[in-house]
Amino acid sequence: MAALGVATGGGNWFSALALGVTLLKCLLIPTYHSTDFEVHRNWLAITHSLPISQWYYEATSEWTLDYPPFFAWFEYALSHVAKYFDQEMLNVRNLNYCSSRTLLFQRFSVIFTDTLFVYAVHECCKCIDGKKAGRELTEKPKFILSVLLLWNFGLLIVDHIHFQYNGFLSGLMLLSIARLFQKRHMEGAFLFAVLLHFKHIYLYVAPAYGVYLLRSYCFTANKPDGSIRWNSFSFLRLISLGLIVFLVSALSLGPFLALNQLPQVFSRLFPFKRGLCHAYWAPNFWALYSALDKVLSVIGLELKFLDPSKIPKASMTSGLVQQFQHTVLPSVTPLATLICTLIAILPSIFCLWFKPQGPRGFLRCLILCALSSFMFGWHVHEKAILLAVLPMSLLSVGKAGDASIFLILTTTGHYSLFPLLFTAPEKKNLFLIGWKLSTSLAWGLWKSSVNLYSLSPLGS
């Protein structure tokens, strides 16, 4: 009884938070799941039933494998557990197979892999300076950060309702960030390299990593005014970083290089034929651009400036994934989006290079890279906003200014995820989650007021 008392009453709020959100995830098992459920079932089937050489060629289902090889291996590992739940789900021909055991297995696999995310949050909490906090539990930055990350509603909606595996991937990212904060650069680099080969969307933030590691790790010292000291360059460090990235990539892409399948893999990973905007528009710049184009074309048609016969028939708002030409404004090519993105991230990259401010500066640059890529990228999913929201949580517990920005980012970001919830009961759940959003608002407001009074802006 005493041991139980210590375990539960010892104020171990982190475990309570983690366990609480896990239980909530269990309750979300019977909710609506999107086609992503079938996508992952299909990948379980592909990796289990077919040899490696077929993985990136298999096209029985429309949901072909379009994640890097490590994720395929991950699905392969899962499939070995899946066969004890329901053998039928591993048949490639069983399209849209969704027995109750399949559902249970898939949902539990997401919940289980989230343990990596919980561990990463735990590591991130260690990086937060809690000295200036009040004595109340709810005022401690560690507690606030744990709540913001563990109970992140965007992640709950996307992972546990819509169905994806962003939990452990975000965990990897947060863990690599934490390692960089802890000055364990090699581990951080390794973790990020691994992450890239799990889901290549993290290329969005690769420039931040590259520039930071080059500037703050390869150059071992700075001049007194903070600018670069060229003769402190350490070739050893550069080589070791390069070696890590090379080894990880070799492990991942090696087998496919040997099978001469690299072009096919890359064409699956980067499908530029999918169009500028996703079926559900991500709220980025191109959405505004396309909306403006639509408005102008309607006005043009009304005022008889445009010839109706010359208007392309395909509609961007049809909810389909396809290529599209703009009517009035110039059409956008993938190269154009790349250039826009690069221009957008240049200021933060410059800052990171010329005035490095340690890990906090890196984090800021990372968030800006993620946001810029979200705004100007090609075929961006609205789920990509999570790439910016989660690291921003880390920043927001530090400074009051960051907290207010975070409030806006998280509210709009999570609001923009609502179209992912498709059916009526989930729409009602949507209201609830909307209410929970207002909780996060409440958290944010109160937290920022706490930051204003108790924490001074950390001299980052």
Partner: protein, 507 residues
């Protein structure tokens, strides 16, 4: 300010848990011809909107009482009528006379679940929040933790949002009654409680403590002066509220009698189905239902019930206090549950609500009781395919209580409110110091038994000759636990004021 945010967060969490539980199956889903409680509620909406009031409780060609006839008081009928008007606005097929029998669809499920949520949000949850905010002598954090634990109580969530019922309405009104009466808003409190009784007649389990407490207050104020005035006012409030609710049914004597017949089906027998009370457990060994004639059964049940609750009620009348009132609510409701007539397993919720109210004072025992109360409904929950939500909500509730109240550190005699009792016993047996340790061991045994039984019920099939084995075992174990709690709560009540009296003498 901070309290508002945290309380909002707690309420939102409670609502989220409720809504996610409601995504599961309901009672009688896809099981024609009778379906279950969900269909009963839908049927009552159909009856109340399509038929005139005079026919609601009567058997007729349009209203077959054998198919889920109305057996709750008029307020339930009015609530159903209100829901039916909304349903008519959205989709008249849901409540069309005769043709809508057994109607099941996603949209309809959403509507029905929404009605439960709205009723909960309007009545029960504000009462809980207000109750916790008005608690005295504890910090803000503890108030909010208290609210969290009460809102996370699994039994009510699973029955209302899983099985499908509207217990939160009657329990909410009863809670408003408790609040009113505890803080000297006697008239409003009794009005609220009358509404509760007129919503579900099972609230009569709580009526004796209310009566005794208010009577005690009148006596204290002096029956020749203010007390008498208060008594008259209360009587008028009660009579007026009853008349208001029953007005359409008071026009004819036959109407009133028929409604009473529907509310109190005395010819249905001592118990139905498996329920964790004395009679059902006893009938495992001796089939009383078959041996004794009907009126003897009634008499025995009546006697046992009243004998077991009399001491506490007398104590409350002589020494009315809000604390004594809460504990008496528990023991009275528990006595009724264990010994009364025609008890359903869901009636344990009537005991759980007062126990939630004393959560702050005896966290360890209350948490234990609330876990057992949820466990006692296991056969019902399994029938409704609510295993996963049950397990999850029970674990969540346990963790919430364990972390909020540090229950495992509060097992000393003082914390268990057994100090005065132990002192009295030690006058005769000086070595009686091991009570807390016994209770801790009992708790462990109880929890292990409950977990084992749950596992067995879920994984194993009962033997051919005893198909109800697991249900009966669940009832048996729960009943033993409840008897222990009955004794415990009565001890607290009886020895509580004794200590108070001694204190006064010393001072």
């Amino acid at each position: 300010m901070e309290k508002c945010y945290l309380m909002t967060a707690v309420v939102l969490l409670g609502l989220t848990v409720r809504w996610t539980v409601s995504l599961n199956s309901y009672s009688g889903a896809g099981k024609p011809p009778m379906f279950g409680d969900y269909e009963a509620q839908r049927h009552w909406q159909e009856i109340t909107i399509n038929l005139p009031i005079k026919q609601w409780y009567f058997n007729g060609s349009d209203n077959n009482l054998q198919y889920w006839g109305l057996d709750y008081p008029p307020l339930t009928a009015y609530h159903s009528l209100l829901c039916a008007y909304v349903a008519k606005f959205i989709n008249p097929d849901w409540i069309a006379l005769h043709t809508s029998r057994g109607y099941e669809s996603q949209a309809h499920k959403l509507f029905m679940r929404a009605t439960v949520l709205i009723a909960d949000l309007l009545i029960y949850i504000p009462a809980v929040v207000l109750y916790c905010c008005c608690l005295k002598e504890i910090s803000t954090k503890k108030k909010i933790a208290n609210a969290l634990c009460i809102l996370l109580y699994p039994g009510l969530i699973l029955i209302d949002y899983g099985h499908f019922q509207y217990n939160s309405v009657s329990l909410g009104f009863a809670l408003w009654g408790v609040l009113g009466v505890s803080y000297d808003w006697d008239l409003l409190g009794s009005l609220a409680f009358c509404l509760a009784i007129n919503y579900k007649q099972m609230e009569l389990y709580h009526s004796l403590p209310f009566f005794c407490f208010l009577l005690g207050k009148c006596f204290k104020k002096g029956l020749k002066g203010k007390g008498f005035v208060l008594l008259i006012k209360l009587a008028c409030t009660v009579v007026a509220s009853f008349i208001l609710c029953w007005l359409p049914f008071f026009t004819e004597r036959e109407q009133t009698l028929q409604v009473l017949r529907r509310l109190f089906p005395v010819d249905r027998g001592l118990f139905e189905d498996k329920v964790a009370n004395i009679w059902c457990t006893f009938s495992v060994f001796l089939k009383i239902r078959d041996i004794l004639p009907h009126h003897i059964q009634l008499m025995i049940s009546f006697c046992f019930t009243f004998l077991s609750l009399l001491p506490a009620c007398i104590k409350l009348t002589l020494h009315p206090s809000p604390r004594g009132f809460r504990f008496t609510l528990v023991s009275c409701a528990l006595s009724f549950f264990l010994f009364s007539f025609q008890v359903h397993e869901k009636s344990i919720l009537l005991v759980s609500l007062p126990v939630c109210l004393v959560l702050r004072e005896i966290p360890f025992m209350s948490t234990w009781f609330l876990l057992v109360s949820t466990f006692s409904m296991l056969p019902l929950l399994l029938k409704d395919e609510l295993l996963m939500p049950s397990v999850v909500t029970v674990i969540a509730f346990f963790i919430a209580c364990a972390t909020s109240f540090s229950i495992f550190e509060k097992t000393s005699e003082e914390e268990l409110q057994l100090k005065s009792f132990s002192i009295s016993v030690r006058k005769y047996f000086p070595c009686f110091t091991f009570l807390p340790r016994i209770i801790q061991h009992l708790f462990l045994i109880s929890v292990i038994t409950m977990v084992l039984l749950t596992l067995m019920t879920v994984t194993l099939d009962p033997p051919q000759k005893l198909p109800d084995l697991f249900s009966v075992l669940v009832c048996f174990v729960s009943c033993l636990n409840f008897l222990f709690f009955l004794v415990y709560f009565n001890i607290i009540i009886m020895w509580d004021s004794k200590n108070g009296r001694n204190q006064k003498k010393i001072n």
